[in-house]
Amino acid sequence: MAFLLRRLCFYLAAFVAAATINFFLPRLMPGDPVQIMFSSAGAELPPESLQALKLTFGFVDGPLWQQYLTYLGSIFSGDLGRSIKYFPLPVTTVLGNALVWTVGLMGTATIVSFALGTFLGILAAWRRGSLFDVIVSVGAIFATSVPAVVTSLIVVFTFGFTLGWFPTGYAADPALDPAFTFEYIGSVLYHGILPMLTLCAVLTGGFAVTMRNNMINLLGEDYIVMARAKGLSDTRVMIWYAARNALLPTVSSLAIAIGTVLGGSLVTEVVFNYPGLGNILYQAILARDYPVIQGQLLIMTATMLIANFIVDVSYVLLDPRLKRA
């Protein structure tokens, strides 16, 4: 499919753009870029390791373009350098472990919010002008205009500290060892409820309003009128004629929403001390662990691009006009 191939090329270009930003940032700041990048290392780093790190990040002798290519070479061979804070762990390891938690949290929250939000949006559009519609529309405004940071804090305050129903931090009970036991998995789920709840609160409203607006925009179309004229049941018209078509622009808005999801989950992880990418990034910033910070941008961009690609594929599957005839 030409469409998908074009998207892939575009995503590749975007990834390289992110890498380029990484490359230029330390060089654009006042001062010696090498100093800046590895300032947090202090004296603990053995000189060979420092040399290897410099090589990875392109701080070699030679013209700028050569440095750039060296850096790109490192990235595309999977070498993101080593973390300074967690030396000698490679950045990929540090981020890799965290990635699992973030994808789990973010992925589940996105799916749940999308399903719930879309469902609410369909009903709100179908029952336009009713109390339900007003509640959903206004409720969505409230939910989406409050920053994720604030929602997380309020949720953890109410359900965690005040009511004590749920734990206030960590991915699982710190006393347990990670294993595929019921106990551990149960603990994971239990600890995951509040962050999930927060993320869903942040995301559902947006999906609901998008779906509602998309539905309303096409409720005047001829094929909807014809469906009613055919004597089909209300439910059938609502689902197979209206919602099925409104789903297309909603799914494409999902792609944009993923950026918000990433941002939101980042903050939520910090508040709940969840060991995902967000928290790692937060700690890295505190420690000025630049290799991790830069690696973070690449991983997050890659996640975003992959998620976008999945949305593209879904779109092609959903819209028969895009499939080859």
Binding site: I141, P147, A148, R288
Partner: protein
């Protein structure tokens, strides 16, 4: 009732939203009148709960929370509106140019826009801010302006494409009006509602993101803003020690402002696109149906 020339007044959401924003603005401006405490100074014991002396209690280092709230409003609002303005200007300009000029210029701008759109916003800002160090609110506003214009540009471009086809644009072209004049005086005035929505949306985004960045420690902790209040409270583990006033004050302030702006935004959107209105305009129709005067 004919549609008034000032439709905003009749829209309840807009009124409530505008009132909220105006109220917060007034509080920010009147800050010195509302409190005699210096928001940055240590004026009381650490983590005092709300009392007559300190209406909203004190922070870990003994600052008056209420004073920080009202003075912090100034910074949060200023950065929010400033960054919002910058984002809107860049986005609108690029959108109109891309939409109107078309061709190669459009391709380049669109490609660039899509690229900026697809790189996740917050991680990028975090990396930028990490390198910059402790960013003052103005630096934050500037980097927000430079990275977050993409969505507005895309929407504006789409609208420009449809306005471009209109007769008055074509006639201006025929008359030989220079392109920059057409873009500024023919096309732009017809995009006002889109630009308005874009602006309010950008302000909301800027306020949220500024608070988030400061919460994560990338702002300048010496500055008083709602974001730095969150940062300070979190560092002091306000929740664990039970000093709820420390952390919840900026939370509710931000939520309140966000809701006010969103209501305004929703209302502007409904005016621009009347099909999306909620609420009932069918009062008369319903009474006629009920009285049996007619049916569907």
């Amino acid at each position: 009732m004919k549609t008034s020339s000032f439709p905003l007044i009749h829209n309840r959401k807009a009124m409530v939203g505008a009132l909220i924003v105006a109220f917060i603005l007034a509080v920010a401006i009147a800050a010195p009148l509302l409190t005699s405490y210096d928001p940055g100074a240590r004026v009381g014991r650490p983590h005092q709960s709300p009392s007559l002396e300190h209406w909203l209690g004190t922070t870990r280092i003994g600052q008056d929370v209420f004073a920080r709230l009202v003075y912090g409003a100034r910074t949060s609002l200023a950065v929010g509106f400033g960054a919002g303005l910058l984002i809107t200007i860049v986005g609108t300009a690029l959108g109109i140019i891309a939409g109107y000029r078309g061709g190669k210029i459009d391709e380049v701008i669109s490609f660039f826009t899509n690229m900026v759109l697809v790189v996740p916003n917050l991680p990028l800002l975090l990396v930028l801010a990490a390198f910059i160090g402790q960013a003052s609110p103005w630096v934050i506003a500037l980097i927000l302006g430079c990275t977050s214009w993409a969505w507005g540009a895309r929407v504006t471009r789409a609208e420009t494409l449809s306005v471009k086809q209109k007769d008055y644009v074509k006639s201006a072209e025929m008359m030989g009006e220079p392109r920059w004049r057409i873009m500024t005086f023919e096309i732009f005035p017809n995009l006002i509602s889109i630009v308005g929505i874009n602006f309010i949306g950008s302000v909301i985004f800027a306020i949220i993101t500024q608070a988030t960045l400061e919460f994560l420690g990338l702002g300048d902790p010496k500055v008083v803003s709602w974001g730095t209040m969150l940062y300070g409270a979190q560092k002091a583990s306000a929740l664990s020690v039970g000093a709820w006033w420390d952390i919840l004050t900026p939370c509710f302030a931000l939520a309140f402002l966000g809701i006010g702006l969103s209501l305004l935004n929703f209302a502007v959107d409904e005016i621009a696109n009347p099909r999306l209105r909620t609420g009932n305009r069918l009062g008369r129709w319903q009474s006629l149906i009920r009285s049996g005067e007619g049916r569907l």
